[in-house]
């Protein structure tokens, strides 16, 4: 295998892993605060279409990515009001958010089908990407680097910052956190908004980096994989990074098999691999833990301040 090919493969893996990583880190923070938002897929779609629309209209992909974060955070805010203030069931509301996001994105995106957009391509000057190895380091979209930085930032926030300690406390025992005097709902609102913004950013990666065009259901269920990765990572940012890149590898198997001329297995089977792997990983993890999990103790439970 030539060096060129190897670098190309590694770069596709990074490309496939980055949106999983960003959306997964967002959901990780949300779940650490004790909220289960199953609407990641819907928020990613809203992000993807908003990013695309703004980037094509203004010609500025960076503005598109920012708008994607804002729009998905807005969708997350609706979710937050429903489950936090009105105490709706989190699972049902999350599923509704995904359905809502799928529909709304198709509606907004209808006029944009078939056009291309300026992309968030490599940011470093050409001379830095002249050789394959340099390309491996400098040739990525800025979002790839952002994903890596975000991993570090989320780890630092959760393990070193006081605000992160409070967020974890709220997710571990909302009643105890409330008794000590922490604003449980405010913390959860902020976490949900952050999760929404990250899902939006991850969604825009599909429309602004991976494929510079819009199509309905562009994210193709990757939001669900991001949610599964949170469990896979046992709510730890470092493992989320490893998990996202592992899934990036699995997801690009189909392409790589084609490139390598491997045809012993039907391409459809390879394309289905990430989803099979998701189910396998979740089953293995829950079997291995036998009841005990690293999940935040209050995950998915509504909080009502004691009367």
């Amino acid at each position: 295998m030539s060096l060129d090919l190897l670098v190309a493969i590694l770069m596709t893996i990074a490309g496939a892993a980055t949106p999983l990583l960003i959306a997964g880190l967002g959901e990780l923070v949300v779940e650490k605060s004790g909220v289960l938002n199953l609407g990641v897929e819907g928020m990613m779609l809203i992000g993807a279409v908003t990013g695309f629309a703004v980037a094509t209209s203004t010609g500025l992909p960076v503005l598109g990515a920012l708008a994607a974060m804002g729009a998905a955070a807005l969708a997350a805010a609706i979710f937050a009001v429903l489950v936090l203030t009105l105490m709706a069931n989190q699972v049902a509301t999350g599923l509704a958010l995904t359905i809502f996001g799928t529909g709304v994105s198709a509606l907004i995106g209808a006029p944009f089908v078939g056009i291309t957009t300026p992309t968030l391509g490599p940011i470093f000057p050409d001379f830095l990407t002249s050789s394959p190895l340099l390309r491996l380091v400098f040739g990525h979209s800025p979002l790839v680097y952002l994903g890596l930085l975000l991993t570090l930032a989320v780890w630092w926030f959760l393990n070193r910052a006081r605000a992160g300690l409070i967020l974890r406390a709220v997710g571990e025992s909302d009643s105890a956190a409330h008794a000590i005097g922490y604003p449980v709902l405010k913390v959860r609102y902020l976490a949900v908004l952050f999760g929404g913004a990250m899902a939006g950013l991850a969604g825009s990666y599909y429309s602004l980096v991976l494929t510079p065009m819009w199509a309905e259901r562009l994210t193709a269920g990757r939001g669900w994989i991001a949610i599964a990765l949170v469990v896979f990572a046992s709510w730890r940012p470092g493992r989320m990074l490893a998990g996202a890149y592992l899934f990036g590898l699995v997801m690009t198997m189909e392409l790589q098999a084609k490139a390598a001329g491997f045809n012993m297995v039907a391409p459809e089977v390879l394309a289905a691999l990430p989803y099979i792997a998701t189910i396998a990983v979740l089953a293995i993890i829950s079997a291995a833990r036998r009841g005990g999990t690293a999940a935040p103790a209050c995950l998915g439970k509504p909080f009502r301040a004691a009367a």
Partner: protein
Amino acid sequence: MAVEARAPRLELKGISKRFPGVVANDHVSFAVPAGAIHALLGENGAGKSTLVKIIYGVQQADEGEIAFDGERVHIGSPREARALGIGMVFQHFSLFEAMTVLENIALGMDEPPPRRELEARVREVLDSYGLSLDPHRHVHTLSVGERQRIEIVRALLQQPKLLIMDEPTSVLTPQEVEQLFETLRRLASEGCSILYISHKLHEIKALCESATVLRGGKVVGTCDPREESARSMAELMIGGSLKDLSDKAGCVHGEDRFVVAALSAPGEPPFGTSLKKVSFSVRSGEIFGIAGVAGNGQNELLAVLSGEERKNVSGSIRLDGTELARLSVGGRRRAGLASSPEERNGHAAVPGMSLADNALLSARSRMGLASGGVIKAKKARDFAAKVIDAFSVKATGPGASAGSLSGGNLQKFVMGREIMQNPAVLVVSQPTWGVDAGAASFIRQAMIDLAAEGAAVLVVSQDLDELLELCDRLAVINEGRLSEPMDVKGISIERVGLLMGGIHGSGRGAEPEDGTAPAGRARHPEPAL
């Protein structure tokens, strides 16, 4: 210390708090001087918890005012309370299980210093009060006594002027209680006032110099606990005279009825305790107690005895010579073993179902409330009505849902349901947990009566006083091991306490080392002394 001239540390004037349908506090007034240890007494539902939540800023009073060191204050949140110098140790600890001791302490402070500095200060406080605790342990690996120490250290770091303790000793061994009292006395001598809430009257006698008694949200009296008897304070609390339990001396103990031998079972991961060769026997007419700090295998023992847990269980459970260990829950009930678990809402009874349906659930076979898969609704209602009547359960009737009953009334119903099936063996856990004094004495009397008729009764409880009052013999469970049984007459409380803390007395001979003690080893609660 000369404090006479100063205003009281805390003064409440006419505090009222209403919830829909109830008045939790009705013009409550009292004062706590600086450096005093003041008790707040009352039954469940008397309004103690609401009152301290108001003082700690968790809730706001509808009426009345609070003065702190003579100045009128408004306490809008726990943060404001801490800023004034009020610390609180909660009844149900406000701890985060998955976090370390240090993280938990940092969460309880408004502006914690950097980690290293905080750790140094924590160690300083631990040293100066002679408390032992490892700041880097995760909370879920700690014993209850150690957990409480976290709360105390957390409060002490803020150098409080008033420390509120809400039922602090309900889960401690006698030695741990003594150590806690020493800490509190030392704090008081340094000028910190302590507001101490408990229903354990002899502890209040030992610790407090003044007391305010609440009943139905109102102050019904104040007293000096050192000059009262436990009985007189109890009567002040319930506003009536306390009935004596009938004497058990006349009871004749017969043959062994309920014999458990070498019972072992794995604990449920991740935090369960495994049972290690538990053996004991209960005679006809006898009440046998199992004491111990929560989480030492009591729940596992109950589940194994009732038949809920049969997987990987070894050993034998015999009732009048019949082996029960292979039988299901229903089979054991038919054989004459009735049981009632610790958690009444959701385990002993289904909250959303009527009392008649709940009666049906456990009395189905013994009372013939169903045949051939068809429910005899009228018979079930009649049985429930009989239980309600015989145990004076306050309920609208057999159709009332279990969840609508107060804790004490539901417990009376659950106990009545089992006792009226006339079992040969009754196994109960925490029969009077969270139950008011009147109902508790009723339930205890019912168990004594059942034993007097020849049944064998096994009571698992964390309340040592209850066991001492009720039982003929008792044994202590620690880490899933049961001690030798002891006659309650002439028992040494100190020895019981040591056993509860995991130190096995020298009179016991060699430790029962079976060499197979696995996972549970890692979480030895540390010795109480």
